[in-house]
């Protein structure tokens, strides 16, 4: 999820400064894929050597009218593409967007969409632009579909703008205005805390379960709430509030919180050793998971992302 304060970072990627040496070398590598390069540029694709691409990067990425970032996958640190704004017209508060995932191995994973979302949040939220425009080859259907999905409006087409493989191709002109993009500031940043309840008689056992067995660090409650019973703990940067409530059969609801963990089998073994029954969840792609109930009936899901 993208938050207003970490605009250039999402769950999986971040936009980082251009480094002429690193990114020039990458551009040179990508330039050898002519089929890919022709999606990005109407110019005739030319393979470049690193020295040329470094010079190009110096020339284009550091200009006043252009702002450019490298797209980095957080997990592993690979730089997979470039994104930026060009034709930045300060007095008009308008600029045009360009983006490319250079390495085909990283296509179709949603990185482009994530990078454009980050950039639009930055453009409208931080730079206070009124408009972000773009041009795209009409034949590049995947790109056109992505931009439409993000809210870009088709504003016209430059007819027969280039000729390739013996056929004329149009360029689509698209634009997105500030009020057409959900303002970054109105987005929910993240879940701050969840609350689970136990009866007051079980409170000490709940402390033992959550703080000792599961190992969550306790957060000290504010003075104003101290008398109300219960305790707070940290879960992966967010908070779990354990509070008291009487006369409720918690085993009757499937409402639950899912905790993302590493080493899922170890968690399962730990819970089973403590006498909590666990149950396989219905499989979903990309994750392993199981569910359990705490000793007081609250359902908890444990989930782990798996490679591939």
């Amino acid at each position: 999820m993208i938050t207003f304060s970490d605009q250039l970072t999402s769950d999986r990627i971040r936009l980082i400064a251009i480094d002429a040496e690193r990114d020039g070398d990458l551009m040179a590598r990508w330039s050898k894929d002519a089929g890919m390069m022709r999606l990005f540029d109407s110019d005739v694709p030319r393979p470049r050597v690193a020295r040329q691409s470094r010079a190009d990067t110096e020339k284009w990425a550091y200009r006043d009218t252009a702002i450019e970032w490298a797209i980095q996958v957080i997990d592993g640190g690979a730089v997979i593409g470039r994104i930026g704004l060009h034709r930045y017209r300060t007095s008009h508060r308008a600029a045009d967007l360009h983006v490319g995932i250079g390495d085909r191995a990283h296509w179709s994973k949603g990185y482009g969409r994530e990078a454009v979302t980050l950039l639009l949040n930055h453009a409208f939220g931080e730079m206070d632009l009124h408009r972000v425009g773009l041009i795209v080859f009409a034949a590049n259907e995947r790109a056109v579909a992505l931009y439409r999905k993000l809210g870009f409006v088709e504003e016209g087409r430059w007819r027969q703008f280039l000729r390739r493989d013996g056929a004329d191709q149009d360029i689509l002109v698209m634009g997105l205005l500030r009020h057409e993009w959900p303002p970054a500031i109105a987005q929910v940043r993240r879940i701050h805390h969840v609350q689970v309840c136990v009866s007051s008689a079980e409170l000490e056992r709940a402390r033992a379960f959550y703080l000792d067995l599961l190992g969550l660090p306790e957060i000290h409650k504010p003075e104003s709430l101290k008398d109300r019973g219960g305790f707070w703990a940290e879960v992966g940067g967010q908070q779990l509030h354990v509070s008291t409530e009487e006369g409720v059969d918690r085993t009757r609801t499937k409402a639950h919180v899912a905790w993302q963990v590493r080493a899922l089998p170890d968690w399962r073994a730990k819970l089973e050793a403590a006498g909590c029954a666990t149950l396989d969840s219905i499989p979903i792609p990309g994750y392993d998971r199981f569910e359990a109930r705490d000793p007081f009936g609250n359902r908890i899901e444990f989930i782990q992302a798996v490679a591939g």
Binding site: D43, R93, G156, W158
Partner: protein, 187 residues
């Protein structure tokens, strides 16, 4: 062999920029508010001859754009007086030319200079540069320019919504395009 002078029309001549003498004239234009608004969508400011000279000297040192940018001046054949600017920017890979055209002084407008200069420019683009189409970007407030290009056969192709801010409000930037076949048909 065709020895017609492709730079010359009935009354006008397309020439190179004269970095020594043109700045004096262009500095005067830059203080004419409507020229700024009409010729260029970028934010403009009154500019001195000295500043323009320095800008042109810098550009001469930096030759790399020469293959793409054709920064021409429009002069009267009769007395060689500078009356306007014609800039062609070539996208060689695509076969497209971006074109900008401006007549500097209000007193020089409505004499057909723009039309004659555009005809020279288009002939240069299609017959010499061998490009396939021409694109212009016209600010939505410049109704005269929209009518001017439409009369020359250009078709409105895209309307970049609210891309510009001027005179205290937002305006569209309108793209008009002319294909080689359309130019030949209108010739």
């Amino acid at each position: 062999m065709n020895d017609a002078n492709i730079y010359e029309g009935e009354r006008l001549r397309l020439t190179a920029l004269d970095p020594v003498n043109d700045p004096e004239v262009e500095a005067v234009w830059s203080h004419t508010p409507d020229f700024l608004a009409l010729f260029n969508v970028e934010l403009q400011r009154p500019t001195s001859a000295h500043q323009l000279k320095k800008r042109y000297e810098e550009r001469e040192k930096n030759h790399e754009d020469d293959a793409y940018e054709f920064d021409l001046r429009i002069r009267l054949r009769a007395d060689d007086r500078l009356v306007g600017v014609l800039v062609i920017w070539a996208e060689w890979g695509a076969g497209n030319a971006w074109l900008r055209l401006g007549i500097g002084l209000p007193a020089d407008r409505r004499h057909g200079y723009g039309r004659e200069a555009l005809a020279l420019g288009l002939r240069y683009i299609f017959d010499e540069m061998n490009l396939r189409r021409v694109t212009v970007g016209v600010p939505g407030y410049n109704e005269a320019a929209l009518a001017f290009f439409a009369a020359a056969g250009f078709k409105v192709e895209a309307r970049q919504r609210e891309a510009l801010f001027r005179f205290g409000r937002r305006w569209d930037e309108v793209n008009l395009g002319l294909l080689r076949a359309e130019w030949e048909a209108a010739r």
